[in-house]
């Protein structure tokens, strides 16, 4: 094999008190497609940022094309031929597709003037690389998420790169787009460009990569040739457990439905959705981004209203005009985007946790009873094992998992009959992930009806007692976790067998 294009050894990096990387090594050869796998929170993203010069490692060495570097700036990394397509795309929502594609190139060339003819040529060339059809003059904020990601991919392809790092590039793509992308990746490889492909989807790892590296909890756990890998070992390396989680089964006798949805439709979002949800049940809803899953559960929480269909709670038809109505009906919701929808980042942990139950913590004068607040808070910290030293600190000082627990805590004090969790463990470290899963089961076994919306298929398989697959705004299949597999779920949600 050719000489290594990238070699990092013993990289360590911590943020505040969190050790994200504990001495990770990774080697990529020229012209190789290498897969970096690991669960959310395993340190993948941090490693990418170290390689691309965004973070300076606390320890370890980086060697690019045989050059050993002690410090690396983002610009140097780009100059050395390293391109990253981040998960958040780093696009300018307010600018046109053309500009998003051309600006970086022009900046790299240190141009002071904007030549629109050249920009159009660059952009046209960029989209042609993956056969991406898009109106170059459309503002990026008006594109679908998938198209925005393609813009980011096209932009990275423009550079004369030696190594392109793709951070979970396929999470929002259809099978057709994935195929097109893989074709592009192969063609890049044939030109001698290396690809570091970050993914936690086994199928993709098998299909595209030659070698793999798996991280868990900030450490290397496995590396080698993809051919040697099978489902079982892959899952084991990723989770560190051998199918530790048995699928959840409600031990209650099926009672009358708590929540019953009949023919619910919202134009442009979802259509003809019907299902029942019983006490003690955990219903998993899975589907791709844009499948209508978020719009559906937001409707159930009173954020938007349906155009037709009905919602029944405990057998009575209800109309929810606002979130307040939904809460009054005993519905709780943990939103998908914790940072912008779930939390008040600069406010204290305490305030974030008690915001939902403030009314109950007031004395007869309407003033907050500080002692009651403190007592409730310490109860939660203990029950949910939230790692918070001082509840008066801003919630942003917590790790993702603990932040999510704070959001959950908000609902635990309320009288809930239905709890909806949208992406409950996105960006949550593994320890906290299992904590949250255990908590969901415990709540369900006490009689709460739970809906989880997730595209983390192992999670859905492990937690849900019943799974509904959603595609293009409709339920296409109901499955029993015990009798289905991850790949079957994947096929159903992407629509490609």
């Amino acid at each position: 094999m050719a000489a290594s294009i990238l070699k990092v050894v013993g990289i360590a990096k911590s943020f505040g008190g969190v050790q994200a990387l504990k001495g990770v090594s990774l080697e990529i050869d020229a012209g190789e497609i290498h897969c970096l796998a690991g669960e959310n929170g395993s340190g993948k993203s941090t490693l990418i940022k170290v390689i691309s010069g965004v973070h300076e490692p606390d320890a370890g060495s980086i060697e690019i094309v045989g050059r050993r570097l002690s410090r690396l700036s983002p610009m140097e990394a780009i100059a050395l031929g390293i391109q990253v397509i981040y998960q958040d795309f780093s696009v300018f929502p307010n600018l046109s597709v053309m500009e998003n594609l051309a600006l970086n190139m022009e900046l790299m060339d240190k141009r002071a003037l904007m030549n629109w003819g050249r920009a159009r040529a660059i952009a046209a060339h960029a989209v042609s690389l993956i056969g991406f059809e898009v109106d170059l003059d459309e503002r990026v904020e008006n594109l679908s998420v998938a198209d925005r990601q393609l813009v980011a991919i096209c932009r990275a392809l423009l550079h004369d790169s030696k190594l392109i790092i793709m951070d979970e590039p396929t999470s929002a793509l259809t099978k057709k787009e994935v195929k097109a992308l893989f074709a592009v990746i192969k063609s890049l490889q044939s030109r001698g460009i290396s690809i570091l492909f970050v993914s936690h989807k086994l199928d993709e790892v098998f299909e595209i990569s030659e070698r793999f590296t798996i991280l868990r909890n900030g450490e290397n756990v496995a590396a080698g040739s993809t051919e040697e890998l099978d489902h079982r070992t892959f899952a084991f390396h990723m989770t560190g457990r051998e199918f530790a989680e048995a699928s959840y089964k409600s031990d209650r006798a099926p009672g009358p439905p708590v929540l019953s949805v009949k023919g619910l439709s919202q134009v442009g979002s979802y259509e003809g959705i019907s299902f029942d949800l019983a006490q003690g049940e955990i219903l998993g809803i899975t589907g791709l981004l844009g499948s209508g899953r978020t719009e559906l559960v937001e409707t159930l929480f009173g954020i938007s209203s349906p155009d037709s269909g009905s919602i029944e709670i405990a057998g009575r038809e209800v109309r929810m005009r606002s979130v307040k109505d939904a809460i009054a009906l005993g519905i709780g919701y943990v939103p998908s985007d914790r940072l912008t929808e779930g939390l008040f980042l600069p406010q204290s942990i305490e305030r974030n946790a008690v915001i939902g139950v403030l009314g109950r913590l007031c004395n007869s004068l309407g003033l907050l009873n500080r002692r009651a607040v403190a007592e409730l808070m310490s109860k939660w910290i203990a029950e949910l094992s939230i790692a918070a030293k001082d509840p008066s600190l801003p919630v942003k000082t917590l790790s993702g998992g603990n932040q999510q627990k704070v959001v959950l805590a908000r609902w635990l004090a309320s009288e809930l009959s239905v709890l909806i969790l949208n992406g409950p463990t996105m960006g949550v470290d593994i320890g906290a992930k299992y904590d949250i899963h255990a908590l969901m089961r415990e709540l369900a076994s006490k009689g709460l009806a739970i809906i989880i919306v997730s595209d983390d298929l192992p999670e859905v398989l492990a937690c849900a007692s019943r799974i509904l697959v959603m595609r293009d705004g409709a339920f296409i299949q109901e499955l029993e976790p015990a009798t289905t597999t991850e790949s079957r779920l994947g096929e159903l949600s992407t629509g490609v067998a």
């Binding site: 505040g16 969190v18 909890n217 979130v323 939904a326 403030l358 790692a387």
Partner: protein
């Protein structure tokens, strides 16, 4: 294990917001000391304190109103318009309703009714602004710029711009009462409002909701807060406070007029900002606002004692101090962050 997470930044650095109060206090003491040293026979005198206590409540109360709206992430530029419109309604009522030469005990119920009219006007003015912002999604700065024009316009329209004077004597007599011959009624009202609003912000459900809404409106919605109602109520409180300020101005001027105190609007925004109210919403305390008001009043009264120094040096010092405090805070927080990172690495 991973879950023993230490906070990324130590608690001390994050207490920076209270450091801001400390800095304001230092500044207040400095201004006070400076004026006392330079004008020993005039500044730190009872007469001067009395004079200052009579001056700041009217704009101070409006500054508290603006501060509340800024905590929820908005702004209320309509406070002065609301104050004058409320006062004009009250004055029109008094002038029209109170019989000439009536004895005080007969006038008193009219005064109570006039106060009620003013407060109701303030409440409605605020509610309207809140409605525009929450339901019609008009940016607060535009909505209240509009209401300011509207309220001042109505005030001019119904008075033709003339002062509404010849109020019953009793109104300004009561309005200019000095308790123990020293504490003006307006000062007492200010203190009551500052304490009340301070308590509301720090201890009540509504106050907490205001901070949360100002931090992240979307998350507030997902947490089940009724954002529209919180916004409307906040502007209603701001409106009521403005009408109280209007009543105080009416007592001090013994008349009501459409344009009393027009320059107070920007001054109040400045006070709120220097007092540590975050213009992006979510943070700030009435203690800070009160300190900022006192600093401004000390500066203003102090400079009035220098015959050859223009009043406008107040603006210079005021703007300069604001910038310096910002720069200082910024440099301080950069240093604290660096130190925190260094410590966490060690």
């Amino acid at each position: 294990m991973q879950s023993t997470v230490k906070p990324a930044i130590p608690a001390k650095a994050l207490a920076g917001r209270d450091q801001n109060l400390l800095r304001l206090l230092v500044m207040l003491v400095f201004v006070f000391g400076l004026m006392t040293v330079l004008r020993p026979n005039e500044f730190a005198t009872l007469a001067d304190f009395n004079s200052m206590m009579r001056q700041f409540p009217e704009y101070g109360i409006m500054a508290i109103g603006i501060s509340l709206t800024m905590i929820t992430g908005g702004i209320d530029l309509g406070v002065v318009g609301t104050a004058n419109l409320s006062a004009i309604f009250a004055a029109k009522f008094l002038i029209g309703a109170v019989p000439q030469g009536a004895p005080p005990e007969q006038v008193l119920p009219y005064l109570a009714a006039a106060v009620a009219i003013a407060l109701a006007t303030g409440l409605l003015c605020g509610a309207f602004a809140g409605l525009l912002i929450s339901r019609f999604r008009i940016p607060a700065i535009l909505a209240t710029l509009g209401t300011q024009q509207l309220y001042t316009g109505i005030a001019i329209g119904i008075t033709n711009g003339r002062p509404q004077s010849r109020l019953p004597l009793l109104y300004s007599t009561i309005g200019n009462t000095e308790f123990f011959g020293f504490f003006p009624l307006s000062f007492v009202i200010y203190c009551a409002i500052a304490v009340g609003i301070g308590l509301m912000l720090s201890r009540s459900r509504f106050g907490t909701c205001m901070y949360m809404l100002g931090t992240n409106a979307k998350a507030a919605r997902f947490a089940g807060l009724n954002n529209a109602s919180i916004i409307i109520r906040t502007y209603m409180v701001s409106g009521i406070l403005s009408s109280v300020a209007g009543l105080i101005m009416m007592a001090r001027a013994n008349s009501a007029k459409a344009d009393y105190g027009a320059p107070y609007t920007l001054q109040c925004v400045l006070i709120a900002v220097l007092g540590g109210i975050d213009p992006n919403g979510g943070f700030g305390k009435i203690t800070g606002v009160t300190l900022a008001i006192l600093i401004l009043q000390f500066l203003s009264s102090g400079l009035n004692m220098f015959n050859n120094i223009s009043n406008f040096y107040r603006d210079v010092i005021w703007g300069g101090v604001l910038i310096l405090v910002l720069v200082f805070n910024r440099l301080f927080s950069i240093r604290a962050e660096r130190r925190a990172v260094r410590r966490s690495m060690a």
